[in-house]
C-alpha cells in the first residue's frame, strides 16, 4: 500500500500565452517509510510538487491519493484538516511566527486541533525536548540560531504525529554544522518509521535518503534507490565529475546535473516528442504553443 500515489499530475500556472507548466504529467509512488530526496535545478517544479503532495496546492490535472484516499479535489477546509493531522511541513526559511515563543510555535498545529492549553504546551515541550532545544522553550524565533529555529520548526512538524513530513530545502539557510544537525534529526525521525520527502540542492545530503528523485522542467527525469550513508550515484557524478558545460546551461544551474544523468538522452525529451505527436486533449493549447516556439 503506497502512502502517496500521483498519477499524471500536472500543474499549470497563468492563463493564455503566459501559461507555464510547472508539473508535466508526473507519476510518483512513495511507500510508507521512504526517505525521498528530490533534486533538480531551480524552477524545475520541485516546490510545486511538494505543495501538491502537501495539499497546499491542487493539481490542475491528474489524480493524487494519500493513504488510498483521493485528495486531489479536496475543499480547502478538508485539505487543511488533512494537513493538520497527517502532514508536517518544514520550510527553508523556518517559517516560525515571530511573535510567538518556540514553545507556542510548536504548539500551533495542536491549537487548530482544539487541544487544551495545558495539553498542547506539554506536548510541544516534549517535542522540543526530542529535538534537543527544550532549554530554548521561551525564546522568540529571533533569539534562536538558524539551526535551533529549524529544530523548532521540525518539532512543530512532528507535534501532530504526521504520517508524512515534507521538507522544502530544510538546510538551505543553514551552515554545514547546523545542516548536519538537522539532517541527523530527520534521519532519526525516519528511523522511527516516518515517511519523509525533502528537497535539496546539495548532492551530499542524498546520503541520508533511501531514494532520490531528479526533476527537470516539471517532469521526473530520473528516480533511483540508494543506500543510506552513501551519496546517490547520479548525485555523486554531479558532485565530483568535471563538468563540461556551456555558459548558457551554467547560468541556469542545470549543466552539471544534466551531464551526470545515466542516459545521454533524458527520458523527458523522448516523452515530450511522443506527446507532441499525439497531443493529449487537455494540453493541446500549451503544447501547440510550445511546438510553435520550437
Amino acid at each position: 500500500m503506497a502512502l502517496i500515489e500521483l498519477k499524471d499530475v500536472s500543474k499549470l500556472y497563468g492563463f493564455g500565452d503566459a501559461t507555464t507548466l510547472a508539473l508535466d504529467e508526473v507519476n510518483l509512488t512513495i511507500e510508507k517509510g521512504e526517505f525521498v530526496a528530490v533534486m533538480g535545478p531551480s524552477g524545475c517544479g520541485k516546490s510545486t510538487l511538494m505543495n501538491v503532495i502537501g495539499l497546499l496546492d491542487r493539481p490542475s490535472h491528474g489524480t493524487y491519493s494519500l493513504s488510498d484516499k483521493a485528495v486531489a479535489r479536496l475543499r480547502p477546509n478538508n485539505a487543511a484538516k488533512i494537513r493538520r493531522d497527517t502532514i508536517g511541513f518544514i520550510f527553508q526559511s523556518f517559517n516560525l511566527l515571530p511573535r510567538l515563543t518556540a514553545l507556542e510555535n510548536v504548539a500551533l498545529p495542536l491549537t487548530y486541533k482544539g487541544l487544551s492549553v495545558q495539553k498542547r504546551l506539554k506536548r510541544a515541550s516534549q517535542m522540543l525536548d526530542r529535538v534537543g532545544i527544550q532549554s530554548r522553550e521561551y525564546f522568540l524565533p529571533s533569539q534562536l540560531s538558524g539551526g535551533q529555529a529549524q529544530c523548532a520548526a521540525i518539532a512543530r512538524a512532528l507535534v501532530n504525529n504526521p504520517k508524512l513530513i515534507i521538507a522544502d530545502e530544510p538546510t538551505g539557510n543553514l551552515d554545514s554544522e547546523s545542516s548536519r544537525l538537522v539532517m541527523e534529526l530527520l534521519a532519526d525521525i525516519h528511523k522511527m518509521g516516518n515517511t519523509i520527502l525533502f528537497v535539496t540542492h546539495n548532492p551530499e545530503l542524498t546520503r541520508y535518503a533511501t531514494r532520490v528523485v531528479y526533476m527537470h522542467d516539471g517532469s521526473i527525469i530520473h528516480d533511483e534507490k540508494t543506500t543510506i550513508g552513501r551519496v546517490a550515484i547520479t548525485a555523486r557524478r554531479a558532485l565530483y565529475s568535471q563538468p563540461q558545460t556551456n555558459e548558457e546551461d551554467d547560468l541556469a544551474g542545470v549543466s552539471s546535473l544534466m551531464k551526470a544523468l545515466p542516459s545521454k538522452t533524458p527520458k523527458r525529451k523522448k516523452r515530450a516528442s511522443k506527446v507532441a505527436a499525439k497531443p493529449v486533449k487537455r494540453h493541446k493549447k500549451v503544447i501547440a504553443a510550445r511546438s510553435k516556439k520550437s
Binding site: L56, A80, F91, L96, L97, Y112, K113, G114, V117
Partner: protein, 410 residues
C-alpha cells in the same frame, strides 16, 4: 473549541499590544464616537434633571402669569424655569393686573417681575451684564431662595430706593462679597444695597435667567423710573396647598374680566411647561447623539482599514497558519476576534474617558452630566457590532487567501 477561542483571544490581544500605536490610532475613532455619544446624552440628561430640579426647588404649586397667548407647542418659552424667556413675547401685564392677581382667591403670595433697562454705575464701574427687576416682597418665598446677607425688600420699602442683588452683581459691580450699604446709580437715581441673595442654581442653556446677575428693586420704583413703560413680563403666584389648579383658573377668569373678555395673557401651572421642554431637549439630545454615532461608523471604517493593512502585512503568518492546518474558519475567527478586541477596547476606553470628562465638567462648569447606564451599554454593544461588521471584510480576505500565495508573500 473553547480553548481555541481562548487562544485566538490571546493572539488577538497580543497582536493589539504588539502594535500599540497603530492600535491606538485605530481605536481613536471608536473612542471619540463612544465618548461623544455618552457625553451628549449625559449632558442632555443632566440639564433635564437640573431643570426639573429647579422646578421642584421653586415649588410645583407655582403659577406663572404671562402676557399674550402662549402656544403649548412653543415648548421652551413656556418653561417654568426659563423665567426671562418670556421677554420674547410681546405685550406686557399692567400694574392693575398685578393687583388683580394678588387679590384673587387662594393666592398666598405673588410677585411681579418687571424688567427695567438702563446702565448701572457704581464708583466709576459700569455694569452691563446684569438687569434690574422690579418685584415685591414675596419673591424670595416664591423662588424658594433665601437672602444670604441683609434682608429682602419689605412692604415698607415701597417707594424707596433700595436694592437686593445677586452674587455675581456683588462681585462684579462692587468687587466684594457683601456690599451691604453700598450704593449704585441707575437711571439717574441712587440705590442702596439692602441685601444679597444666596447663589441661585443656574441652569445651562438658559443663561438669561441667571438671577445671580439681577438687581431687585421695589416694583413701584421700577414703574416710576420707567414712567410705567417697563414691561411686567411675568407674575409669579403661589397658591394655597393643593389648590393650584383652582387658583390658576380663578386668576384666569379674574384677569379675563379685567381685560374685557380678552385672553391676551396666559396662566401656566409650575410644572406644566416642563413636559414640553423635556421633549425638545430629548429631541436635541437624540439629534446630537445621532451625529456622534456617525463618528462611530467612521471609527468602524478606520478599524476596517487598519485590519486590511494588518492582513496584508501578516499574509506570511496566515500562510504559515494555514500550512500547519488552520482552516479558513479558524483564520476568519482569529481576525474577527482581533477586530472585535480592538473596537471593544476602544469602547471601554471611550467609556472611561467619558466618566473622566463627566467628572471634569462637574468640577469646572455648571453642567452636571448624568451618565445613563443604558447608553453605556448601548455604546459598548454598538462598538462591538462595529468591530464585527467592519472586521469581517478583512477577516474574510485573510481566510480566503490561497495558502501558497500567502506563504510566498513576505
Amino acid at each position: 473549541m473553547k480553548s481555541l477561542t481562548r487562544g485566538h483571544l490571546k493572539a488577538g490581544v497580543s497582536s493589539v499590544r504588539s502594535a500599540k500605536l497603530r492600535s491606538f490610532w485605530t481605536m481613536l475613532g471608536i473612542i471619540i464616537g463612544v465618548t461623544s455619544v455618552i457625553m451628549v446624552v449625559a449632558i442632555g440628561e443632566g440639564i433635564k434633571q437640573q431643570i426639573s430640579g429647579q422646578i421642584h426647588h421653586m415649588g410645583k404649586d407655582l403659577i406663572t402669569v404671562r402676557p399674550a397667548q402662549l402656544h403649548g407647542s412653543t415648548g421652551l418659552s413656556s418653561n417654568g424655569a426659563n423665567l426671562l424667556s418670556g421677554l420674547n413675547i410681546s405685550g406686557s401685564l399692567s400694574e392693575k393686573d398685578v393687583t388683580t392677581v394678588s387679590r384673587s382667591k387662594g393666592v398666598t403670595a405673588s410677585a411681579p417681575l418687571t424688567i427695567t433697562t438702563g446702565s448701572i454705575k457704581s464708583e466709576g464701574v459700569t455694569y452691563d451684564k446684569g438687569f434690574v427687576i422690579g418685584t415685591s416682597e414675596d419673591l424670595p418665598s416664591l423662588l424658594n431662595q433665601s437672602v444670604e446677607f441683609g434682608a429682602f425688600i419689605t412692604y415698607n420699602d415701597v417707594g424707596s430706593n433700595v436694592a437686593v442683588v445677586g452674587q455675581k452683581v456683588a462681585r462684579d459691580l462692587f468687587n466684594e462679597d457683601v456690599p451691604l450699604g453700598r450704593s449704585f446709580t441707575f437711571q439717574g437715581q441712587k440705590f442702596i444695597v439692602r441685601g444679597i441673595f444666596n447663589k441661585f442654581n443656574t441652569t445651562p442653556l438658559s443663561e438669561q435667567a441667571d438671577f445671580n446677575n439681577a438687581i431687585f428693586i421695589p416694583n413701584d420704583v421700577a414703574e416710576s423710573i420707567s414712567k410705567n413703560t417697563a414691561p411686567t413680563y411675568e407674575i409669579l403666584v403661589k397658591a394655597n396647598d393643593g389648590q393650584t389648579a383652582q387658583v390658576a383658573s380663578s386668576i384666569e377668569s379674574a384677569l379675563k374680566k379685567s381685560h374685557g373678555g380678552q385672553t391676551n395673557f396666559s396662566v401656566v401651572e409650575g410644572n406644566k411647561g416642563v413636559g414640553s421642554s423635556d421633549d425638545i431637549l430629548n429631541l436635541l439630545t437624540r439629534l446630537i447623539a445621532g451625529v456622534a454615532a456617525i463618528s462611530l461608523l467612521v471609527g468602524g471604517i478606520g478599524i476596517m482599514n487598519v485590519m486590511l493593512v494588518s492582513v496584508a502585512e501578516r499574509m506570511h503568518e496566515i500562510g504559515i497558519r494555514k500550512a500547519v492546518g488552520a482552516t479558513n474558519r479558524q483564520i476568519l475567527s482569529q481576525f474577527m476576534i482581533e477586530a472585535t478586541v480592538l473596537s471593544l477596547a476602544g469602547g471601554v476606553i471611550g467609556i472611561a474617558l467619558s466618566f473622566f470628562l463627566n467628572l471634569m465638567l462637574r468640577l469646572t462648569t455648571d453642567l452636571k452630566p448624568v451618565i445613563s447606564w443604558p447608553v453605556v451599554i448601548i455604546a459598548t454593544g454598538v462598538s462591538l457590532l462595529v468591530g464585527i461588521i467592519f472586521g469581517s471584510v478583512p477577516a474574510l480576505k485573510a481566510a480566503r487567501k490561497d495558502p501558497i500565495e500567502a506563504l510566498r508573500s513576505e
